[in-house]
Symmetry: C2
Subunit: 577 residues, 2 copies
């Protein structure tokens, strides 16, 4: 069985199976989705129109037994930002697609009639069926009604009500091993799926090989072991993330004065302990939830958790720092039970938890509800679920909510909400927000690793020196990691343990029978960034868009009275490579 | 008394009177507002933030007795488009400012407190007073409560509820000689005024000179007479516009197959006669309204009218073709009485009638109300007035309404609604929409004059040949006319009567004691366009933004099955001058 690309055209409901062009054979994950979007999508097209394409691709190591290799990439022109977009998530889909040797699934066109469909993907092809029963359902109802909660051999990609309505904050949900969801979160890819009339996609690998073939399985085993060991030995990957989840960051980031509070008015939230990872783990342990949990098979970090209520009943999992920050410090709501409930609702409606929660803070800024109003937060999410006019506004994300209410303190870059780290107090991440090819995004060049966690050395977060170079190096490395199917969090180990990156290269070589060297990884990352940047330039983006909102340069941030003081010229140095 | 610039800083409520810098002494109207905005406003600033500036400037001939010289220009960075913006209107303000020898009024900063103010402008300076009583009032209530309806010596610039809320479709209303309103309509300048906390500005010229000094008054008189004669002799300026108003165009544009109907699905509206200028004039005459009416003293064209209801009671004036088209053919509402009522409501709330009416059509596209629902139109305008969430969406204009409801058939360029002429069937105006420095705008290069009315020759509207050159020539000429304070409609005479342009040049020479030649007018126009373009480029605009929405290239327009078939390269030729 050879690797292939499945291409679905929703305009005429046709399906093709195509051989993988030579140029794309060495690519996977983000490198592949960005290459396909750049090659096939007109950069100035309407993101929700007939000319956009939605591409899913497992990573190069997906389907192997490499630790933490279960990330699926999705790519398209983003309706939120207007830029190229890649979003990746855990869950079971990447491994199932890899097992079926599907290099990419491309969905193009839009249906002639106003009708939703279901796609069923197997190793042999894709069938398209009109879907009516599950329209209007949230993601949890979809997975339950399809009977897929416990089916380990069948994956699910689904959109909730937000995606059906083409809302710009809509995500795509990826079923995880427990039948819950991980999210292809940012950039509104759920709206692209909705615009194509696709409610859900099942990925049925029953009867196929259990893992992908390896050209040199002995060499792979050795490298995989070295790699897993590097992860387990690292204090962040092997310890911190498992013990407290990503929410370990609340106390740490607050301590550095970079936890954006009350819509970026302070870097310190006086109730931060109430929403911290430590507090969360304590609550989970007391109530009998799961402190550690993996979002895909083969994860050794276990940064997820199962958050339960006082009665021990499941509420949510994958309860991340950025979401908790946004509803917590940003909206000043200090009740983790409310935040967990809201997190589950957002997963069900299918909205990006960062975009939506930052937007709720703007609803507070606009006076729609008050800062700190947890019950109000839940009411607003109900508006998003039902699609009321207010829900339509909020579902369109932070930039549009800001414009609709005439706000000036709107934390977005390229119309995507700025997450969880104030760029005035963590200047490296500010450079990442500005220069990201996909709008404000922390994961695309996570300088927090070096600015705060001191992985890969230390660059003082309050000083300008070294930040552009740091962000550039991390963005290049991340573009490569995002192409392997490995979880971004392996980067902590890669930065600190000199055995980790060679082990990744060895795994790739053993998987495909090639002879990459470490420098090739950097070259791949650079090439991905340049491809993405070229798409954006053709879509009309310039250096003038690589800027933070002006309030970051006009208002100092307590407690350090930090200010955003990069000039345009200094930021633009980023692209000199 | 020398000409001066008044500068008001709303951050500290200070006022300065400044001498006019040499470089700006030969500029007026749009040339001056664009020069000031380009020189003083950071192109990437937030349009509603502290760094934007709102500039008012009468034209070079304002305050003289030149026919149709009463246009006031307002400029800023537009919150709707993100580009530089100049909008001009009739009414009494330009002449009053010119009489007071105020070359420009610049309003900068934003108030420290959330408080609205009134500005009182006299020849001596500006006073700033907190305003509370009139907050929440529509424009008609403002002018009445201020007792300014019949005060010919005191002008008024005011915003309605939409401007107070920083809504992107908000306009600035300019009192006309009857105490009704003309609009600085497009680009959301009312939101800029609202963001600066200015509810209204009075312009009190009582006791000042009745007209501006002329260096050579005899020469001026001769030229002014020649100019007025050219206007009166022209079939459009001297006859058509007076008899039927701009709404004379409904039947004409429908006949050419370019009247966009049901959100740009056809170029022919089967009920077009019901909303035509002929029908309107007949109704006005029967009911005892005024068929002809000028928006400012000295207007010889009289394209306005006073539309009355069945009981002969005043409903609206300045009831324009583009507004009637948008609510009529675009929304499929064929009842002029409802359209007139809606026109008056929009003047009162203070929203751009084109942007808002095109947006109402998108609300129909989204299924919020049905096409043809006149009562629904009035209900939606009430939402805008009260600022409900739905009203907030609609008040944000067509682009945001399209995004909020996930629409793809959204007729905007640079986020400003496309007016009244389908670019597929009137290709010259399509080039104007694309290349305008201010988003889709017909007045900035009104090729309809030559494509349809056959003024200045004829360029076949259905063919590509000659359109780029036509649009370029008209945009250059318009930029110059917009700087003189002359109404754009003088262009019809300028295109056809060889005495008209030399007469304008003679008037300018006689007014200022200079010796311009006709070529200098073209040079001025070119220079204005280049200044504006440079601002936009620094703000992040590229050729990729000079494009129509993709549905114009994908859907043919009945009855001619016309299509938008310009390539990007062909459009970009526009800027080769």
């Amino acid at each position: 069985m050879a690797e292939k690309i499945f291409r679905v055209d929703m305009s005429d409901l046709s399906v093709k199976s195509e051989a993988v062009p030579t140029a794309w054979q060495g690519l996977g994950g983000r490198a592949l989705t960005s290459a396909i979007v750049a090659a096939e999508v007109e950069p100035t097209c309407h993101p929700l129109g007939r000319n956009n394409k939605l591409v899913f691709a497992p990573g190069l190591l997906s389907g192997t037994r490499a630790a933490n290799s279960g990330r699926l990439s999705a790519g398209a022109k983003s309706p939120l930002t207007g830029t190229i977009k890649e979003s990746n998530a855990g869950g079971t889909a990447a491994q199932l697609m890899a097992r079926m040797e599907i290099k990419a699934l491309i969905i193009e066109g839009i249906p002639a009639e106003s009708q939703f469909y279901a796609l069923k993907v197997t190793a042999d092809g894709v069938t398209i069926t009109p879907e009516n029963n599950l329209i209007g359902c949230g993601n949890f109802e979809v997975v339950e009604k399809l009977g897929l909660v416990d089916n380990k051999e069948c994956g699910l990609l689904s959109i909730g009500q937000a995606g059906e309505r083409n809302q710009l904050s809509a995500n795509i949900s990826v079923k995880d091993p427990e039948g819950k969801f991980r999210s292809l979160g940012r950039g509104g890819l759920g709206a692209v799926m909705g615009s194509k009339g696709v409610k859900y996609i099942t990925l049925d690998a029953a009867g196929t090989q259990k893992s992908v073939p390896l050209v040199d399985s002995d060499k792979f085993k050795v490298a995989a072991k070295t790699f897993a060991k590097a992860l387990l030995n690292h204090p962040v990957c092997g310890e911190g993330l498992g013990a407290y989840g990503t929410n370990i960051l609340v106390n740490i980031v607050d301590e550095t004065g970079g936890l954006p509070t009350k819509n970026f008015r302070s870097g310190h939230y006086d109730k931060h302990e109430m929403i911290s990872g430590e507090k969360m783990s304590e609550m989970i342990a007391e109530r009998g939830g799961k402190v550690k949990h993996g979002c895909h098979a083969g994860c050794v970090m276990q940064c997820s958790q199962v958050f339960v209520d006082k009665e021990g009943k499941y509420v949510t999992s994958g309860f991340e720092y950025e979401t908790i920050w946004a509803m917590g410090a940003h909206c000043c709501i200090d009740d983790l039970d409310i935040l967990a409930q809201a997190d589950s609702i957002m997963d069900d409606i299918g909205v990006d938890a960062i975009e939506m929660s930052v937007t709720i803070g703007l609803a507070m800024e606009a006076g729609i509800i008050k800062f700190g109003d947890g019950a109000g937060l839940l009411r607003l999410l109900d508006d998003v679920k039902t699609g009321s006019p207010l829900g339509r506004i909020l579902g369109s994300g932070a930039a549009i909510t800001g414009k609709t209410y005439g706000l000036t303190r709107v934390p977005v870059v390229k119309d995507q909400a700025i997450p969880a780290y104030d760029p005035r107090a963590v200047k490296g991440i500010g450079i990442t927000y500005c220069t990201s090819t996909m709008g404000a995004d922390h994961t695309i060049g996570y300088t927090v690793a070096t600015n705060i966690l001191k992985c890969g050395g230390f660059v003082d977060p309050l000083q300008k020196a070294g930040q552009v170079e740091l962000s550039r190096n991390l963005q290049i490395a991340t573009a490569a990691i995002d192409s392997t199917g490995l979880c971004l969090f392996v980067a902590f180990a890669v930065l600190d343990d000199e055995t980790a990156l060679p082990a990744i290269v060895d795994m790739l070589n053993a998987r495909f029978g090639i002879s990459m060297i470490v420098d090739d990884v950097t070259a791949l990352g650079s090439s991905v960034l340049k491809t993405e940047r070229a798409f954006n330039q053709a879509a009309g983006f310039t250096n003038a868009h690589d800027r933070l909102p002006e309030f970051f340069a006009a208002e100092t941030l307590p407690p350090h009275n930090a200010i955003w003081d990069f000039t345009g010229e200094e930021i633009d140095e980023f692209w000199n490579f």
